[in-house]
């Protein structure tokens, strides 16, 4: 009987957590217009979230492009299809790796700093102080960060894919010796703007919502102690990564299964 009660209590706790998160999300959406009215705050957060993530995103994109071109070449040349290297790399990056790897890096680079910042604000009772001054901390602190994260993610993902394709071009044309004109023309024949590039951008926008929301929620709901903040930061990375991967599968199944 005790075990049954423990199971029930656990299930209720999990459900309560989910419900709490969902309500928090709705609250956040409701205060978003207030962030739009003070766009200066969003710009500052764009700098913290977007600009400062640029270097790691570009470096990883370039590396992924290099490696992808080499590996795909070894696989494709077996079938005498080395010419389609550009197409394979392009589709891999634009559809999957661009949005997903950007989101994972984003969770590690920007999500953790958001959680830690807000967690420390809470630990230092700054959020409570704001409430005392009749300022809604959600509108003043969370909403600009949320908006900035959601705006920055598709841009970062597009840059990741672009630099990856350029990296693949460097390897394919410079190192392997595939014809440059062919490299681009086969991509223009095989990649559709709306189906491939468009869906990739939609994906990265969804991932932007997931990563930023998880980071903000974990920061806002953290236990206001040093251990609590550390725990919340870890949870941010784990939860947003898992959520992104799960969501990626669902989105891929919805977007690309009909063909």
């Amino acid at each position: 009987m005790n075990a049954l009660a423990a199971l029930g209590a656990r299930a209720l706790r999990v459900l309560q957590g989910w419900g709490h998160g969902a309500l928090f999300f709705l609250d956040l959406i409701r205060v978003l217009p207030q962030a739009l009215r003070r766009f200066g705050l969003v710009v500052v957060q764009m700098h913290a979230i977007g600009n400062r993530s640029l270097l790691i995103i570009l470096a990883s994109g370039l590396a992924v492009g290099f490696v992808l071109a080499l590996q795909m070449y070894y696989a494709l040349v077996t079938y005498g299809a080395a010419e389609s290297l550009g197409l394979v790399v392009n589709l891999t990056l634009v559809r999957e790796l661009g949005p997903v790897v950007t989101a994972l890096l984003f969770a590690g680079r920007a999500g953790t700093s958001l959680t830690a910042e807000i967690g420390l604000m809470k630990a230092g009772e700054q959020l409570a102080a704001m409430e005392l001054m009749a300022i809604d901390p959600r509108a003043r602190v969370l909403a600009p960060r949320f908006l900035a994260g959601v705006l920055a993610m598709p841009l970062l993902a597009a840059l990741f894919s672009s630099i990856g394709i350029l990296g693949a071009w460097l390897v394919a044309v410079g190192l392997i010796g595939i014809d440059g004109g062919n490299f681009w023309s086969i991509q223009q024949n095989g990649v559709d703007v709306w189906r491939d590039v468009g869906n990739g951008i939609v994906k990265s926008a969804v991932f932007g919502v997931i990563c930023t929301f998880v980071a903000l929620y974990q920061g806002y709901e953290t236990e206001a102690t040093p251990e609590g903040v550390a725990y919340a930061t870890t949870r941010t990375v784990v939860m947003s990564s898992l959520a992104v991967l799960a969501m990626d599968f669902i989105l891929t199944a919805l977007m690309f299964s009909t063909r």
């Binding site: 200066g40 710009v43 500052v44 764009m46 700098h47 977007g50 600009n51 640029l54 392009n90 634009v94 920055a152 598709p154 841009l155 970062l156 597009a158 840059l159 894919s161 672009s162 630099i163 394709i165 681009w184 991509q187 223009q188 024949n189 990649v191 559709d192 703007v193 491939d196 590039v197 951008i201 063909r259």
Partner: protein, 162 residues
Amino acid sequence: MSKRSIEILVGLFVLLGLGGVLFLALKAANLTTMSNGDTYPLTANFDNIGGLKARAPVRSAGVVVGRITGISLDPKTFQGVVTLEVSRRFEFPKDSSAKILTAGLLGDQYIGIEPGGDMANLAAGDTIKQTQSAVVLENLIGQFLFNKAAEAGSGDAAGSKP
């Protein structure tokens, strides 16, 4: 850092990101090669469309002149009905023929239009009368084996007579 320099940096970031999107759309995808606007529809009925897919190119003399927009099955004749969008710049004679061809040995299939000699041109919504279905490898192999067997049979018959 002053507010203004932050704003400039963020502006640069947004520009860079939009540049990335533009690069993906223009250089690494088909936005530039997509036939824009001025097209007219044609249909063609095939006994067998093979592996033809929507959005496959329509070529004449190897040059892309349009795209396939839809494929369906005629419920009465059980023929595959393929709808094409052909660029307005190209008008084909009424007795042109459409073939389903394959790019390379194992490449994607596309429709090749061979112009005829009629004075009148195909108008929007017309059907291409003369069509040639896709080559299905299984049928080809079956036919080849059948011919071989028939040859062997007649060879035996010829050999046993004298």
